[in-house]
């Protein structure tokens, strides 16, 4: 069966510091991968998606970037965090079926 992992689970970082969040998927190959941000426990904002290694599409211009160095690894990064980057970050994957499956999330607080 497939499993998706995210780490860390929680993170408190000062403004201006770098960020690296990691997501890995097990039990499938060549998944589509996604990064979402959820603010205030409600709506989901799609940040990035990837259909393959090195292929990243950005949905909104912002202070973040994403990379996919391996087939089942998706990384969200920032060089300098802003207060507005605080939120709950969710990674998801999809395969041949149409639904997406989500990881447990990372709670990021920028202070």
């Amino acid at each position: 069966s497939q499993t998706i992992h995210q780490w860390p689970a929680t993170l408190v970082q000062p403004v201006g510091s770098p960020l690296s969040l990691e997501c890995t998927v097990e039990g499938t190959s060549n998944p589509n991968l996604y990064w979402y941000r959820q603010a205030a426990g409600r709506g989901l904002q799609l940040l990035f998606y990837s259909v393959g290694i090195g292929q990243i599409s950005s949905e909104v211009p912002q202070n973040l970037s994403a990379s996919r160095p391996q087939d089942r690894q998706f990384i969200l990064s920032s060089k300098k965090l802003l207060l507005s980057d605080s939120g709950f970050y969710l990674c998801a994957w999809s395969g041949r079926a149409y639904e997406q499956y989500f990881g447990p999330g990372t709670r990021l607080t920028v202070t």
Binding site: Q6, G41, R42, G43, L44, L46, Y49, V51, S57, F88, L90, A92, Y98, E99, Q100, Y101, F102, G103, P104, G105, R107
Partner: protein
């Protein structure tokens, strides 16, 4: 472009009563529709989907949803609510006729509170 609306910010229901969480959609063709549930500080869990076929779809934890093409709706239902069903529920849509990468468009979420 496809869109989905969840008109209720919150739904309150007593344990043992039936529950309905509403969702309406807008797509150019026949939609692919999904429901997810999110518990506090957790990721979204997939509940059920409608792709084609029977308009009544059964999913996890006793939930079901009814696809109504004429009303462009996909309401989530459960015959008897449990306190443990209290969570945030998201409806999502995918337009299979939309060219380009197929993304899910999520609603803003409905908070379900089931009282003992």
């Amino acid at each position: 472009a496809q869109s989905v609306a969840q008109p209720e910010d919150q739904v309150n229901v007593a344990e043992g009563n039936p529950l309905t969480v509403k969702c309406t959609y807008s797509v150019s063709g026949n939609p692919y529709l999904f429901w997810y549930v999110q518990y506090p500080n957790r990721g979204l869990q997939f509940l059920l989907k409608y792709i084609t076929g029977d308009n009544l779809v059964k999913g996890s934890y006793g939930f079901e949803a009814e696809f109504n093409k004429s009303q462009t709706s996909f309401h989530l239902k459960k015959p008897s609510a449990l306190v443990s069903d209290s969570a945030l529920y998201f409806c999502a849509v995918r337009d299979p006729f939309n060219t380009g990468f197929q993304k899910l468009v999520f609603g803003t979420g409905t908070r379900l509170l089931v009282s003992p």
